[in-house]
């Protein structure tokens, strides 16, 4: 029956695997994650719809969605990278199609490269400096890489850890890993995703593919963040337990030749996920502003986006 309710067991398992979980998470774990993710998606849609309504539009734009996570600069930067590459891929596809028919002698390689660059950097957000002004100058080369680099620290760290993990992998393992990296809530199952997230109920308008893609990206991020946090919790817990055990029964520590295999890594359990969720939902200090002297201690806040 769990199968009926949870539709993304496999994807979530894969994502968790990519995020560092080596064991096989139980269906309960994935179920809980799926619920959390769905809650987050719905919350995002609601807030984005409200934001769009404030703009005076009925349909959500990508900007509305990105606006929700604007404070997480690293995530925004990752998302932009993702989107720009998506754009590039799309144009590439078109060009491939063009190439089929077009004159083959056309020397557009250099132009392509140029276009690629332009396309890549094109995603600009309305709250950026460029939007202060009525005219947009052509893109220069002197893009601010400093910020980008800063924002990418987390991304790079992630890539590095993935590198470390894959370093010792066999070919098959690596293939498996790569496959897992492609796991997505939305890729090629846009319809299922829409139903799952209750698009029709939450928003009036039909979000376009871009939005679904962004949501796909963000859902992956959510699972990743959750898993990483849960793993951290689990590590701490394990450490505590082992130290306790050592104190309790020193003898047990001795291992003999014909002992059974040691307890391998146990997968992340639902409680870890729950704890991780709780930690990620701790109200930010910012939400206390203006509540001082007005019963600031106790307050009801919205679900926080991760």
């Amino acid at each position: 029956m769990a199968n009926d309710r949870f539709k993304y067991k496999l994807e979530i398992q894969q994502m968790m695997f990519v995020s560092g979980e080596t064991g096989e998470p139980s269906p309960e774990t994935t179920g809980i994650i799926e619920d959390i993710v769905r809650g987050q998606v719905i919350e995002m849609l609601i807030q984005a719809t409200a934001q769009a309504a404030r703009r005076g539009s009925r349909s959500i734009s990508t900007d509305d969605l990105i606006f929700l996570i604007r404070h997480d600069k690293a995530k925004v930067s990752r998302l932009r990278t993702y989107l720009s590459w998506k754009e590039v891929r799309k144009t590439a596809k078109d060009q491939d199609r063009d190439v089929d028919t077009a004159d083959l002698v056309e020397d557009s390689a250099a132009g392509d490269a140029l276009k690629m660059r332009q396309k890549r950097a094109k995603i600009s957000l309305p709250w950026e400096v460029a939007s202060y002004f009525s005219e947009q100058p052509p893109e220069g080369d002197d893009e601010d890489d400093e910020e980008e680099a800063e924002a990418n620290v987390a991304t790079l760290a992630r890539l590095k850890s993935a590198d470390e993990r894959t370093k010792s992998m066999t070919k098959d393992e690596y293939v498996h890993f790569s496959e897992c990296r492609q796991a997505s809530f939305t890729f090629r199952k846009s319809k299922r995703f829409r139903e799952w997230a209750g698009f029709g109920l939450v928003t009036d308008a039909k979000p376009n593919d871009d939005i679904v893609d962004i949501l796909g990206f963000l859902t992956f991020e959510i699972v990743q963040v959750l898993t990483e946090e849960a793993l951290r919790i689990k590590d701490a817990e394990d450490k505590l337990q082992t130290s306790n055990k050592e104190n309790d029964k020193k003898r047990k520590r001795d291992r003999f030749l014909f002992d059974g295999p040691g307890e391998g890594r146990t997968p992340v359990e639902p409680r870890h996920i729950e704890e991780a969720f709780r930690r990620l939902q701790i109200p930010r200090a910012k939400s206390k502003a203006l509540r001082n002297f007005e019963g600031g201690g106790v307050m009801k806040t919205r679900v926080q986006l991760m």
Partner: protein, 1037 residues
Amino acid sequence: MSSYSSTNLRVQILRDERSRTRTNSIDPAEAEKEEPIDPLTAACRARYAQFEKAIAAIFPSKRPCCATELTVHELLGIEEPNNSEIDILLPNGVSKDGEKSTPVIRARRAEEDDDYDMDEDEDEAPPPPPSQKPRSPVPPTIQISSPDRTKSPSGKDSVTVTREKLEADKKAAEDAAKLSFSTMFYTLESDRDAMLEQQKLDESDRQVNAEANAQGAPGKLSNANLGASSLTLKHLIARIDAKRERVAVSDMELRNLMSEVKKNRSKWASEDKIGQEELYEAAEKVVLELRAQTEHSTAFLNRVNKREAPDYFNIIKQPMDLGTVMKKLKQLAYKSKKEFIDDLNLIWQNCLQYNAEPKHYLRKHAIAMQKMTQNLIPLIPDITIRDRAEVEAEEAGAHDQDADAESDDEPIMSSRMNRKAPGTSKAKKGGAKPVRAESTPEAKPPVLHVSGVPDIKARDSPVPGHMLAETSGLGSQNGFGSPALPHTPSNGLISTLDLDPAIEKYEIDDDLDPEYKIWKTMTKKARARAASERHKLFRGTKINLDEPALIRTRIGMGRYIRSEVAHGDQDAAAKDFKAPLAVAVEEQAEEEDDLLPNYYKILDSVPELPYNLQWLGDDEDEIDRYNDTLRPAPKGIFTQPPTGLARNMDSNMKIMQDTRKICHKIGVIKQMQVQTQVYNNQFAKYDPQEFVEKEPEDFLVSDDGPIYSEELNRAAFQRSIGKLFYHAGFEDFQPTAFDLVTDIAANFFKKIGQTVMLYSETVLPTGRFAPDDILLHTLAENGLEIETLESYIRDDVERLGVKLVQLNDRMRAHLADLLRPALNDVENPEAAEEDMRHFVNGDFTDDIGDDYYGFKDLGLEREFGMSISSGLMRVLQTRINSNYQAQSAINPAVPHSEYKVPPPFEPLSRDILKDQITLVHNFFLAKLHANNDEPLIEDEDLPIKQRAPKPRLPPTGKITTPRKRPVSGQGGNSKKKKRPNPPPPVATKPPSTGSTAIIAPTATPPLSEENNGTLKFEEKDVDNTPGMMSPESILAA
């Protein structure tokens, strides 16, 4: 003084009484009940007085006015012989029988002594002996003589004496109270009630007046009864009546005026009515007195409204109230004292009757009023008003020479005589009535207190006399049968006996301090006025701005200074107040004494402000103003100091403005390129002013504290917020949004302030919070983190500045690009001039000679040094050109202008090849050979058809071409070339690419035709490099 002895006496009394009860069983019960109360209270009072004095002695005041004459050694009690005291007292006419031996009497005397002493202490002025004792009972002599209808002159005297005595009593009490006022502190809480009551009183006054006026025929003064004056002032009155409509005074006022004009005549005086003046004057006094008891009288001032008590008139058949009584007085409706008193009593009776429920609060008031009435009635002479004619007729009959003398011829005289000696006329009247008998002189007191006030004749009946006899008997029994003690218990005692039993149930007055009560009644009016004046200053909870400013009066200040001086503040007197003091003393006489303590007059109590102006000379500017009062506010309070963050932000904003200006220019140019025609004022000028924080206009401050000016502070705050808005990229904003943000920010800062306050006031066991800690705590409490602030400064200010500068540069470059075509022509302006003639019909720019399109405003000329007209036309021209040049028009222009075009590559020939490294010789020799030793031609210079197709690598990096059929020829070609060929020139190939780069500039003679194969080879290498670069794309996919 003798308080000590009195306590001793007190013991005696008790002992005596005990013995008396033991020995003497005949004593009536009342005597026992009443007697012990008196000595007890007396003792208590004595104690009280003693301790009061003790306090004064123990805590001596240096201030002369507050010091008591009592010294400590006095206090320690020198027992003075009682006998002497009694001797002193005896002449006061209490008793001449001299029962000095009886201890009870002695005790009693001693008590009176006590009272007397106390009064003496308080009351320094020596008043007439009987009035010295406010608490002492009415002396019997007076009581006896009080019946006023007796013929004897002593009887006449006695009336006046009674009145005088009562008034004197009151006055003495007031005087005593006055003195003690200064030692007491009163709160303002009852002032509001006083004010309301006073208002009611005034209202009822007005009402009565109005009604009286309405009833008196309006306008005809002659109709009004003006008493004697009507004769003397006949002509004046007639005159006034004739011009009545031109006199802007009400009848009542006129009448009062008239009565003032008549010397010493009251308004009640009448020619035709005998005794009216006396009766009415007294009656009016009584009514006014009653009304003045606002504590109790409020309910009785006006008629009962049917709305308030619907069934009132069912129960009360004959309603009466003080207002009506007053009205009736004014209408001269009373013929005798009895009628008047009946009316008064009717009021209280009505009230008691209607509010039958014993607990009703009005009963209390009614009873109090009743009691008061009883006390006041003796003040009214018992006169029945009679017509003069009638009296004269009688007099004529009686043949009295007095009456003859005051004949009709001299009415004024006669009336004056009448007034002066009411006794005489009364005597005559009395004489006219034979019924009047001097039977019982003592009969008066009980009569006074019988509530119904029996008829005069009734008083003659033996019953009252009997009563008195009984009471005096009681008194004598108390005094151990001492027969000659006519001085029976005071008025009060009898009145309590006489009063309705209900009275005893309610203690009429609250158990207030009697002094306080006196003070209350005496100052009621003044307090009410003060309260209403205070009240006027406010409207709702705010200060009433329309009220005139409060101004101190010299009199008030003088009074204050005097009190200060009296309190020994000699310094004050010596220093500043000499002059005012003198003035004050002079004007003291004018001052009205309302008995209010100083704290009612705050204005007067404000000490003199020190002078802050100093004359240095006679010239106008030589007034030196001290710095410690009003001075111009220092500059810079409301502007941001140019430090740190503010400077960064300012520079950011400046760049933003600059960039916006450039944007505007770009927009104009773009618009001109698109539009066929341009109008003069099509483009609004955009010339933002630099932000300068303005100081508010000069204003004065008086101290160093923060400046409380809501509007100014808010405006300054809004300005800062506006700056932040602009800094965040908003060019303008809706006022509502602006206000909202201001409110929120103000709220936020208020909370921050509160938190800081809280933490700085908190005391820990270890001390107080350090300033840093306070700040950190405050930030944390208000949802701020240091990181947040830091990241704001880093990202939103500093980095934003960097970005803005970059963007500004790019924008400038963009503008320059747009203007490039025009700039090109600057070199040969004549040609450009020629050119544009083709476009324009008539060179209007020259003709008009001004900056038609506002280019000067845009500042293009200045920036790029081009002439307006040519620049303009070139820009316009670009529009035309751009039709076929498309957007590429700009791009080729760039190299032209900035770099010299490098010479074309020399085509590769055998000669050139020699100079090259030998490694490539074979390769190129083969090529040359294939080309028939003609110089090799560059790929780009080949005709398009002959060029090798460039192999294209899609951005994905996936090499898909081989699979695709049409491309396969090409792709395969390149692939094949790549695959088979590289092996032989593996060594040669990389250099070849390098060499082309190097060689090309040196020498590549142009070739006419080229073999596809070889060139393709080169090309592909060049093109492959970017293809190889994109493994990241593979990775990403």
